[in-house]
């Protein structure tokens, strides 16, 4: 909510020209109303040698929250979008950027009737933002400002000196210095990059953001090495707002009830995977291996248990031999994304009649899952706490009991071959365990024994002679049992 802009000068080009450029007189304090609170412009120093303008935005945190009034019950604002305990009153966020463009609109456009020549001249500038929220840290701050000709000082702010183990906060103390930029350029950089660094998800951005970005980015954004990141972050905020409003509220409330962040529980769908355009080769290999095994089993009615975003369902639909494909997941978000991916609402009736998606849980038996030829559990079991695995085992092998069950899971031995994976780390933050081939084999053999299945193992991906394949797959088939006639059954 606070930043300063300083310049130095000479008797010929006095520093106080800053007042003309900003259209704000150095000897006055001026206040402006914005939709988030009052903005003040004042000059702590102003002489020919040095002049500093300060912009202070008094954010009304209560109003910010109450903006949502009427949405929740009894007019109470909904939790997901608003918190009274909020860094907005302190941090230099998108709100400050909005205030900046409102208060210094002419300066941003480079218009100065009093000193028209000064408006287009570069001059020494120093900008200080003491509390800049920066997702990506000091490193990203440098990557964003340095290509624009700024000397960047970015110093992380500790979360709490009393608890050093908590580490640094997401704020940095930013000092930008340059002699080669005009004030208008500097302001436009701030206007775009403050919200990009903030990357907050919770604030409304109006629908003409694209135009605003193009205008403010004129002359520098197209050449910026981080152009893609800047554009996507700048424009992604609006999208995530609607997404939250649509899908997450129940889970947000459950997270809040438990003093947790919603990301801790609403993580069934990996954020980055959601927009997966080019699936990783391993995922493709896994899908191919599963489809091959399904085809070999002769299955036509297939369950994809834990279907996630529906990639496998989509692949199965392309093969007409699969006449009934059911995708289930416990995550409503996953099902929504899967349904969107498959375009279920627009699918032709004939194709649509082959596929169904619904919420189910492998911690419970579900009668709707009985009577299918095959079930696929692809990268599912490792998302369960180990003590809950017997429940899944019974739900699938004891209750649903399809003829064929395919289970894939990471082979932890292979992790040493992933260069990007630090030693001892699991591949996904929600993996509750990852097994060696021996551990998986022992589990699968015991399951098969308990439930009357035979089991075989198929490597997926390059089968490393030392550590095995990256993914291991078990193919369970119901053992051929001697058939009992009704009469024999009664006789006993």
């Amino acid at each position: 909510m606070f930043l300063t802009i300083s310049t130095t000068g000479t008797p010929e080009r006095p520093a106080t020209d800053l007042g003309f450029l900003l259209h704000k007189h150095p000897d006055k304090a001026q206040a402006f109303s914005t939709s988030y609170g009052k903005a003040h412009v004042l000059y702590p120093e102003a002489d020919a040698e040095r002049c500093t303008a300060a912009l202070l935005l008094e954010v009304d945190a209560v109003a910010l929250v109450r903006r949502g009034k009427g949405k929740g019950r009894g007019g109470a604002p909904d939790a997901a979008l608003a918190q009274y305990v909020n860094d907005r009153p302190y941090a230099a966020s998108s709100l400050l950027a909005v205030a900046l463009s409102g208060v210094f609109s002419s300066a941003m456009r480079g218009v100065c009737t009093a000193r028209p020549e000064a408006a287009v001249q570069t001059r020494p500038l120093r900008i200080e933002v003491p509390a800049l929220p920066a997702r990506g840290g000091a490193e990203l701050v440098r990557k964003l400002f340095e290509p624009l000709g700024w000397a960047v000082g970015a110093e992380p702010v500790a979360l709490d000196a009393e608890f050093p183990e908590w580490g640094d906060s997401r704020y940095v103390r930013l000092v930008l210095e340059s002699t080669g930029l005009t004030l208008a350029e500097a302001l436009r950089h701030l206007y775009v990059l403050l919200p990009v660094l903030d990357d907050a998800k919770h604030y409304w951005v109006s629908s003409d953001e694209v135009d605003k970005l193009l205008r403010a980015g004129e002359g520098w954004l197209s050449e910026h090495p981080e152009q893609k990141l800047i554009t996507s972050r700048y424009l992604s905020r609006r999208w995530s707002l609607t997404r939250q409003a649509m899908e997450r509220l129940e889970l947000v409330r459950l997270a809040e009830a438990d003093d947790s962040e919603v990301e801790e529980i609403d993580n069934a769908v990996a954020a980055e995977a959601e927009t997966e355009e080019k699936p990783t080769p391993l995922a493709v290999q896994r899908r191919d291996a599963i489809i091959t095994a399904l085809q070999a089993s002769g299955a036509t009615r297939v369950l994809d248990l834990g279907c996630g975003q529906g990639q496998l369902v989509q692949a199965l639909l392309k093969d007409a031999r699969f006449t009934e494909i059911v995708g289930t997941d416990v995550s409503m978000r996953a099902l929504t994304i899967a349904s969107r991916r498959l375009k279920l609402d627009r699918m032709g009736e004939r194709l649509a009649s082959r596929v169904r998606l619904f919420q189910s849980s492998l911690a419970y038996t579900d009668n709707r899952l009985k009577g299918y030829d095959a079930a696929v559990l692809s990268e599912v079991i490792e998302h369960l706490d180990l003590p809950r695995l017997p429940a899944l085992e019974y739900a699938v092998f004891g209750s649903a009991r399809p003829r064929t069950v395919l289970v894939t899971t990471p082979n932890v031995e292979y992790n040493v071959r992933w260069e990007s994976l630090p030693a001892g780390h699991v591949r996904h933050s929600d993996h509750r365990f990852e097994w060696t081939r021996a551990q998986f084999g022992a589990w699968a053999a015991a399951v098969a024994e308990r439930h009357g299945y035979d089991v075989e193992f198929v490597p997926v991906g390059p089968d490393d002679p030392e550590v095995g394949p990256p993914t291991q797959m078990a193919v369970f088939s119901l053992s051929a049992a001697p058939h009992t006639t009704e009469k024999e059954a009664k006789a006993a």
């Binding site: 304090a29 019950r73 183990e165 704020y171 459950l254 009668n367 899944l392 006993a492």
Partner: protein, 847 residues
Amino acid sequence: MTETQTKGRVLPVTDLSLVVLIGASGSGKSTFARRHFKPTEIISSDFCRGLVSDDENDQSATRDAFDVLHYIAGKRLAAGRRTVVDATSVQQESRRQLIELARQHDVLPIAIVLDVPEEVCAERNAARTDRADMPRRVIGRHIRELRRSLRHLEREGFRKVHVLRGVEDTENATVVTEKRFNDLTHLTGPFDIVGDIHGCALELEALLGKLGYADGVHPDGRTAVFVGDLVDRGPDSPGVLRRVMSMVKSGNALCVPGNHENKYGRHLRGRKVQHTHGLAETIEQMEGESEEFRAEVREFLDGLVSHYVLDGGRLVVCHAGLPEKYHGRTSGRVRSHALYGDTTGETDEFGLPVRYPWAEDYRGRAAVVYGHTPVPEATWLNNTICLDTGAVFGGKLTALRYPERELVDVPAEQVWYEPTKPLRSEAPGGHDGRPLDLADVHGRRIVETRHAGRVSVREENGAAALEVMSRFAVDPRLLPYLPPTMAPTATSHVEGYLEHPAEAFAQYQEDGVARVVCEEKHMGSRAVALVCRDADAARKRFGVDGPTGSLYTRTGRPFFDDESVTEQILDRLRSAIDEAGLWAELDTDWVLLDAELMPWSLKAAGLLRSQYAAVGAASRAVFPGALAALEGAVARGVDVSDLLARQRERADAASKFTDAYRRYCWTTDGLDGVRLAPFQILAVQGRSLAGLPHDEQLALLDRLVEHDPTGLLQTTRRLYVDTADPESVRAGVDWWLEMTGRGGEGMVVKPVGAVVRTEQGRLVQPGIKCRGREYLRIIYGPEYTRPDNLSRLRGRFLNHKRSLAIREYALGLEALDRLAEGEPLWRVHEAVFGVLALESEPVDPRL
């Protein structure tokens, strides 16, 4: 009933049946139906034709009309309601469909034929404008088809056929409703239900003696109920038959048939059956009996009814178990299921059929008591119990006293017959790790609670709860309770305060609660602890192998990822319970505790870092520079002194905010620094303690804390307040001011009597929280105390939160009651799941 009707024929019609009226157009079926049945019992094909085509006589709509008719009839029969089909039904094909429908719903198909002369039909049709143009030949065809059908009706599957010939017969007939044979709901017992006897006459006599019967009669008028398999394998089947038959004859006993009687009965009727599975022994023993006795036995066995529904529908007795949809139904497959049970079609390693674990799926309200499958111990599973404890195999003969639900048994004198396979170690279907069924929790649900009636759970809330329950919660067997949310006190208008205890005391006084207890509110994270005496107790009572209990958060997540840390805490609790002597005193080997676990930073670390500490950090980073700038401007003579003063105030508020959250954070190492403050014992074996007055609760808990030498357990400070006494109320307010002044979170005010109702019978809030002025900075933001902020924040709405608190409380109490009464896991879980689902309802999270 009118005079004329009583003169004619009497037609018995079973209370649950599908009645098919058969007669030509104009034979008077509709009139007959209206005279003898309730309007809602009758579905007419004409009406259905009208429904689908707007024209009751549109023959082209017939197919659709019958689809509708069958659909409605199916719904009625599934709900157990007698249904009368008013259509001509003169063709065999149309009757076949109806008989099929009756079988699908396991009810008796009954035919009532109205055989009225063609002239009469034609005359009646001619008198009706809508049918006047019906060709005469149609009626003729109807009558011919009807006559042709008459001989076959019983063979087609009708279990009763009443043929009324001529107009007079039709008009004078009377319909009387008969109960089904299996419907003994009017008998309320008490009963002594006896398991499979298999010719063990000595054991039977011993058991009857132990139950208090003298020569087949109980002095208190109790009724014995035999679940069948009286004969075969054992030493004296005739003796057992003689005893049971005489008790049934004298009205001292009921008996349902087992598969062994059934087979022996077929033998007696001269059918060829294999003399296996102990039948040879029975035949041989019966050789020594008189022909007369064998005839009596035959008659007895022929008269046995497959199962009985007793005690107002609360008890079902049959031989091999029976799913709820078959209770009180009458069909071949119901009988077959009652006698033989369901099998999966597979055979086990001993060549015996694998029985379908029907009891796992059972969700009915009636207790089902059965036998058939020998088990070492009779145990309840989902409100069902198998009483076959293998007496003939050297096990024991078991009886269940009902409604007491006590088991009485006598050991076998010897192994009378070698079993084909060893007795299974568990009740049929009672496997480890067997999950609950999705149908128990999924979709929109209504949970019946003892304390607040029906509580409904919306579908979207259930869906969210399912996700959290499935992905994060502990094993449902170790999750018998979730704590309800708690409403804050009404908003205060005392200057500078948003919450103040005065309102809480006033609220309780208004609700008629004279005495309340103020309990210190510990600022940590809510934790529920299930502590079993040892792993064995956990196995026996909760069916888990390994853990000795659980420690979970308010959404059911394990508190610690590391199971060994949980076990260490349980261990400390266990030894405190040990030392305090509470196991014996509470007569239990497990204790369920509600508590607060501290520090807050232990679980809320993520939130602290991303939100609370972050706000503090941002404020500390920004204010020095901002204040310096303002001071600089002031020094230059710019008039910003108001702004400066305001920013100083804000900096001060932010620093107070930091102080506030810091109080609830400290560093822990393993269990060092971890503290647990128990504030209620929720339940112990056989008893919910939710209604135990809080003073007694706290006295028990104090002893627990006293007996913990490790420093883990923390006491809860408290003060009793008399809500009608201003002096006492003032003391309560002062106590709160003092405690929150020192940085305490606040307090919870509870009625001392725990579960309390108003005079009108409404549940009062079980607790009202009054949070401290400084603490609320964590909730409403650092600057909430500014007068303009406070005045806006006072506009908060508590009603939904209060209603939610009461509904969740009722569900929590329900879970505890169900747990205490040993109800099936799914019933406990249903209530627990409901609490979690309601937690996702939209309500202001700051309340």
